[in-house]
Amino acid sequence: MAVQLESEVDFQLQLDNFEGPFDLLLNLIGRHEMEITQVALAKVTNEFLKYVKGLDAKKEIDSASEFLVVAATLLDMKLASLLPQGEVVDSEDVSLLEARDLLFARLLQYRAFKEVASWFHSALDAESERYPRTVRLEEPYRNLRPELEWTTTTEELHDIAKAVFAPKQVPEVGISHLHAPKVSIREQVGIMVKRLKQAGKMTFRQLIGDVSDRAEFVARFLGILELYRIGAVGLKQEESFSEIDIQWQSKDVDQDQLAKLGADYEN
């Protein structure tokens, strides 16, 4: 699958050519012969997004989520650059700045390791052309080795084989890079229900006002959708990007159902 890109130079990108979002971003920036700067990122955002659209999420499930995270950050940055430059610094701006800096840092880090990998390449290459002395021990000396003390029985060898062939513990999927401790949607729903019951009506912005962690933010968002699904809340938004009002609707919502909310997401 190939994606046609808008660019001075007409070129096509093969999906399989890129190892992850940073690889792609670096390549895009490189094609425009730019250094890694905010301008460069803004300039390649469209190309990057086009590429992400073409991602076969099923096939590349491992990396698709990483691409999406980067795409989301790029989009945020692009949006921010379109907004009038005010002095207001609210929590959203701050988190946007953080996301931007994080993206820069990770991209620079990736480039640094990519650069150093080329040193590894040439060092391994050069050393493979070197000739160490690897001459087998001369016959008389070979006989100097202490005689082999064999104490293993057939049964023991069999036991060793069984242990070696036994399926290894499946290596845990690398989720530690998600960094955040696991966030429970059930727990977040609990917090929100309590507040909504008290206030009756809140905006989504108010509901997430105390959240500093991206995972918690996501959990609350999903929680709201779940609450909406069982009819516990009503949602209203006047226009795109305006505040979302959340109305607590059911004073006698099924407590069992409420308690189970979000359980699907766990484990």
């Binding site: 390791f113 001459v135 290596p171």
Partner: protein
């Protein structure tokens, strides 16, 4: 007590028969000699080989690589040797493997998840390849997360032609601190 010269000759004998790099400790153990002296004599031999034949050096040289000393053909003469012996080079590492290897080399001990977060992709199979090539090993399991922590081996140093991780080139000065990133 042996004179220095006879220890020097004994060291040459050991280096002649060995198929692997020999550490100073191994050499000292075999000769039952003090480590300091062994190191001094090894270095004297190295200098001797480098300065022989009126300064052009012998056809072999002593190199400290991957934690030990070993006789190598001097690079000047590789061309002649190439006609005589075939180097059995293992398959070349992929770009992904090289990048993963460099992340592990500079950031060890490091978990698969941490490598993934730097590279932006899943690295399980690449790490497996590096392990089976003997370039990377599992060092221990992290007490808190239970994650396997990986590091590089002496074989890697040997194949890079260096003796310690300190000989790795410095990474880009732009490189931010790990702590600030993940």
């Amino acid at each position: 007590m042996k004179t220095d010269l006879s220890m020097r000759a004994a060291l040459e004998a050991l280096l002649t028969v060995s198929e692997t790099p020999l550490s100073i400790v191994t050499l000292a153990g075999a000769l039952e000699a003090p480590i300091n002296e062994v190191r001094k004599e090894i270095e004297a031999l190295q200098a001797d080989y480098d300065s022989a034949h009126e300064g052009q050096g012998r056809g072999f040289q002593l190199r400290e690589v991957g934690g030990g000393w070993r006789l190598y053909v001097r690079q000047t003469h590789d061309w002649g040797v190439r006609q005589l012996v075939v180097n059995e080079n293992p398959a070349k590492l992929s770009q992904a493997a090289l990048e993963t290897l460099s992340v592990i080399a500079y950031r060890q001990p490091i978990s698969r998840g941490q490598i993934s977060s730097i590279r932006g992709v899943n690295v399980d199979s690449v790490v497996r390849t590096l392990i089976s090539r003997g370039l990377v090993v599992e060092l221990f399991q992290d007490q808190d997360s239970g994650a396997s922590m990986f590091g590089t081996t002496d074989l890697l140093l040997e194949q890079l032609g260096i003796n310690s991780l300190e000989e790795l080139p410095a990474v880009s000065p732009h490189l931010p601190d790990q702590d600030n990133i993940d």
